[in-house]
Symmetry: C2
Subunit: 150 residues, 2 copies
Amino acid sequence: MFHTTDQRFMQEALRLAVLAAEQGEVPVGAVVVWQNHIIGKGYNQTVMLNDPTAHAEMIAITAATQHLGARYLNECTLYVTLEPCPMCAGACYWAMLGRVVYAASDEKNGFSRLQVSASNIFHPKTIVHQGLFASEAAALLKQFFQKLRS
Amino acid sequence: MFHTTDQRFMQEALRLAVLAAEQGEVPVGAVVVWQNHIIGKGYNQTVMLNDPTAHAEMIAITAATQHLGARYLNECTLYVTLEPCPMCAGACYWAMLGRVVYAASDEKNGFSRLQVSASNIFHPKTIVHQGLFASEAAALLKQFFQKLRS
């Protein structure tokens, strides 16, 4: 299911998640890849930008469409360290992403909280894979919230 | 269910939808209202900005949070001319909108295509009303697509 290149790109997303944490943001990172190159990057910036829509995926998707000069990302893969929420899954739908790979699950806020299948909320043609570096991504989040509480 | 002020604000959203159509965009408009004042406006700009996330609601929500300097819009009402899609309903969830009023239904792309209830995809505390100026909003869309085909 996962290739060496998948690992490399998810590691980049994890690096962005660390950047988010360093800036006091919930650590989630995302990259969009086209033809083996990263064409969009994002990390959660909701506090910094004071914008509830500034999730990692939203920023990475917008960046990628700007790079390509196209509204559709059907030849691209989005790597994100956390299960996309309904907003971000909806953005993936509009961008018609070719593939979405996410690391950790998010039972509280991920798209699956709606009890819909991935093929329902993402575009039916989007291939969705989960679990790559899941424990690493979850550990980052756990660490962040533990630090916040102490 | 609807007040005179609701009509006034939805008319402003309709005016924005007309602006969108004039610029070749699918005619959807939105405003965010706080204490009887419009603090955020948006119309669909996905083609113009080459950004699949540039829906009327997303732009209006971001504008409103920038105006208030707060990430939450729990004291605000969003007026939008078309049923929000899952992405926009998800953005309303994060912004914790106090109330959402939409005009026309969108069976193909609205949040209800997921067969979830409004209280599920919006924040449970968000009051959702539909149908104000629904025929006017639907007529704008119908006219736009008819023109596009001819």
